[in-house]
């Protein structure tokens, strides 16, 4: 699955200064718990899940999520953020198998 780690991030198109807005994201990821068995072979499917998601705005930390295998497949996360200025929201995320990705979104504050 080459698509593991792809993310879609959604932020409001127009944000006014001082507004608290929602940042929503979905990551394509299997989120295997390590408890599930392959029905054909009977072997346990190794755990594979997102462990950390970091939200940085203009390089400053906004939120860090630590997640376990209890989060659903293709995880959805939403957090809120206060608009102070325009800039770049960088979302860095990694999984327990060493996968590391990042995604950048422009935030336009008017």
């Amino acid at each position: 699955m080459a698509r593991i780690g792809r993310a879609i991030v959604r932020v409001p198109r127009r944000i006014s200064k001082g507004q608290v807005f929602k940042v929503q994201m979905v990551i394509t990821h299997p989120m295997e718990t390590g408890f599930r068995k392959d029905k054909k072979t009977g072997k346990v499917i190794p755990a594979h899940y997102i462990t950390k998601v970091e939200f940085l705005f203009n390089g400053k930390k906004v939120t860090t999520l630590h997640t376990g295998a209890g989060v659903s497949k293709n995880p959805y996360f939403a957090v809120k953020m206060k608009a102070t200025e325009s800039g770049t929201l960088t979302i860095k995320y990694e999984d327990n198998k060493g996968g590391k990705w990042s995604k950048e979104v422009k935030i336009n504050v008017s």
Partner: protein
């Protein structure tokens, strides 16, 4: 002739081989062990269920009945100024590992808010625990009925 001592030696070598085997192999040997909610709370918060203070400032939005335990939307918000809050924890009591997620907040968040979708093995309370900067723990929970479990 195999003496009792020899047997121990063999057993010892076997045990060492098991511990040095790569993580993936080792995992498949041990059957998953259910971690109790109390232990999970202790591990992440340093205190068990008794250390939590029920609070009506925390709101959990989750379905009362979930058709599939594989995908249960959970939304947590709290009427607490974000600069007093350190982190938010989400637990699902009946899961093998009840800890689901931890969210660290900064004043840049503006509000204490987090939404995600979680797996539930079976009908159980979903707990949200807010860790305040002063160290106190505020909690809220909501029972979610699950008709089909979501953990394999």
């Amino acid at each position: 002739m195999i003496t009792r001592r020899d047997l121990f030696k063999v057993a010892g070598v076997g045990a060492v081989a098991l511990t040095v085997a790569p993580g993936m192999v080792r995992e498949s040997f041990g059957a998953p062990k259910k971690i109790s909610i109390d232990d999970a709370l202790k591990e992440h918060l340093g205190t068990g269920l008794s250390g939590l203070k029920e609070s009506n400032l925390i709101h959990i939005k989750a379905p009362t009945i979930a058709e599939s335990g594989a995908n249960v939307p959970v939304q947590v918000s709290a009427n607490i100024p974000v600069d007093q809050v350190e982190a938010l924890y989400i637990f699902a009591d009946a899961n093998f590992n009840p800890w689901v997620a931890t969210v660290e907040f900064t004043p840049m968040n503006g509000e204490v808010f987090f939404a995600t979708r979680i797996k539930l093995a079976k009908t159980s309370p979903v707990r949200a625990v807010v860790k305040m900067k002063d160290g106190s723990l505020l909690a809220a929970s909501k029972e979610v009925k699950v008709t089909v479990g979501g953990c394999g």
